[in-house]
């Protein structure tokens, strides 16, 4: 099953490891070492991709990098223990698109194309956000990054970049990287240790948490936050009640939820074990306990909003201050310094000028 995720590279490349993985056997090398070796191979490939070189070398480096990426993906998915079900094909596809965009971005000699490849990375990341259930942030990312920040970069490129003339293919400093070898070495030492930290056996214990039980606990925590929003709680309780209501006799009209009963401290949520719910008062005078399950939780955007204002109000304010300071800073930095003489400064300040109009420097000031 694992071998179906990505087309496996030629058997000539890393033969023993690839064939062992394709057959599903435990490879002769230990799994931790496999990750490290794949990282090292992709590092070497990246060095060759960053330097200007003959076409054959670049193609070989691309193939080697793809093979290393395939090994990484197979190894990482194996550790997730999702070998029995369908392989997560969409994450792999979007991950591949994002990685290809990122590599092309740091290797492309033309800055405008690098910026365009970055948009590709943003879109692939947004797709991964969608797959992880973060719909609001996915679209916010596309709007803010691809729509706003990248346009600013494009403007600055337009202002500051000399367009490449004739056949030289752009400026010298865009074509030749600086210290590519040591930069890649540093980056991939970090990548190897990071992947070991993420995907070692002890770190992967979180996959036992991705279970129904955690989902219930997470939903109950979300209900607790929602408890601070009385109006939203009332509409949600109404929805939950309407969905769960069954008439005692066939022609009984359905009573309406009038209000949510609140404790002395203002909270309405009651939890019995894993069950969360609220007490509601109905229009026929009776009251009833309505169970709140995860399916009645508000949509993702609303949950993010509730979390933002109920848990992180100070962070929200500070973010506003940071944006304001960035605005001032950008204005101060980009302002052009104009040399003014003593006399012009007096004129601008509304004071009387020394020179009379018509003489040198006098351009219609106060007489």
């Amino acid at each position: 099953m694992d071998s179906a995720i990505l087309p496996l590279p030629e058997p000539s490349f890393l033969p023993c490891m690839v064939t062992a993985l394709a057959e599903g056997n435990a490879p002769a090398i230990s799994p931790a070492l496999t990750l490290t070796i794949a990282c090292a191979v992709s590092a070497i490939a990246l060095v060759f991709l960053m330097r200007p070189g003959p076409r054959g070398v670049r193609v070989a480096a691309t193939v080697g990098g793809l093979a290393a990426f395939a090994v990484l993906v197979v190894e990482v998915l194996k550790r997730a223990g999702s070998g029995d079900g369908l392989p997560p094909i969409f994450p792999v596809v979007f991950g591949f698109i994002g990685l290809a965009g990122a590599v092309r971005m740091i290797t492309h000699p033309r800055p405008v194309f690098a910026a365009l490849y970055f948009i590709l990375v943003v879109i692939a990341t947004a797709a991964l956000f969608l797959l992880l259930g973060a719909e609001f942030m996915a679209f916010a990312l596309i709007i803010v990054y691809a729509g706003a920040i990248l346009i600013t970069y494009m403007f600055v490129l337009m202002l500051a970049q000399q367009s490449p003339t004739e056949q030289d293919g752009g400026a010298w400093y865009d074509r030749v990287p600086r210290e590519a070898g040591s930069a890649v070495l540093l980056g991939f030492v970090m990548l190897a240790s990071l992947s070991e930290a993420y995907f070692s056996k002890s770190a992967q214990s979180f996959r036992d948490d991705v279970s129904e039980r955690t989902a219930v606990i997470g939903a109950n925590e979300a209900w607790e936050r929602l408890d601070a929003m009385p109006k939203l709680m009332l509409t949600t309780a109404r929805e939950a009640f309407n969905a769960s209501w069954k008439p005692a006799a066939p022609d009984t009209p359905r009573p309406e939820v009038v209000e949510v009963v609140r404790n002395a401290d203002g909270g309405a949520l009651r939890t019995l074990g894993d069950t969360a719910g609220v007490e509601v008062r109905l229009s026929d005078g009776s009251s009833q306990f309505v169970e709140l399950t995860a399916e009645f939780l508000p949509d993702n955007g609303r949950q993010v909003g509730v979390d933002l204002v109920s848990k992180y109000p100070a962070g929200l304010e500070i973010a506003g201050v940071v944006l304001l300071m960035a605005l001032f800073g950008a204005v101060v930095l980009a302002r052009k310094q104009i040399e003014l003489g003593e006399d012009e400064r007096r004129g601008l300040a509304g004071m009387r000028r020394f020179t009379v109009e018509g003489e040198a420097g006098g351009t219609g000031g106060v007489r």
């Binding site: 990341t125 259930g133 970090m190 990548l191 973010a319």
Partner: protein
């Protein structure tokens, strides 16, 4: 996967897209976040064009945001997504300031090469 299997999952595209994240998706997102961060770091260290260097810092921001969302999905907690809002804020502020700086530096030296400012380093 053979073509028949692939065709059979096509109608469920929306459902597959919006289903709760499983461990494979989370692992893939974590791997992507590590790889994107590495690419950003390598690009920042080895490119000479100052605009590309700051574009690479944006790449590292992306990687951090992806890791936040992935771990938020593990814990069924939307706080990870709220942190991404803050990351976006900081990224926007950083882009505005960095680009202002770059325009300023470009006006002084008429080049985007970061080596033009290498006399700023000590020794």
């Amino acid at each position: 996967m053979n073509p028949i299997e692939l065709a059979s999952i096509q109608p469920d595209f929306g459902a597959a897209l919006l289903a709760a994240a499983d461990a494979g998706t989370v692992n893939m997102a974590l791997l992507m976040s590590a790889l994107l961060f590495t690419c950003g770091l390598v690009g920042f260290l080895s490119r000479r064009n100052m605009i590309i260097m700051f574009l690479c810092t944006e790449l590292m921001f992306q990687a951090a945001a992806l890791a936040m969302i992935a771990f938020g999905a593990v814990h069924h907690d939307v706080s990870g997504q709220v942190f991404v809002i803050f990351i976006l804020t900081i990224a926007a502020a950083e882009a505005a300031l960095a680009l202002g700086l770059i325009v300023l530096l470009y006006r002084r030296r008429e080049t985007l090469d970061s080596e033009a400012w290498s006399e700023l380093k000590d020794a």
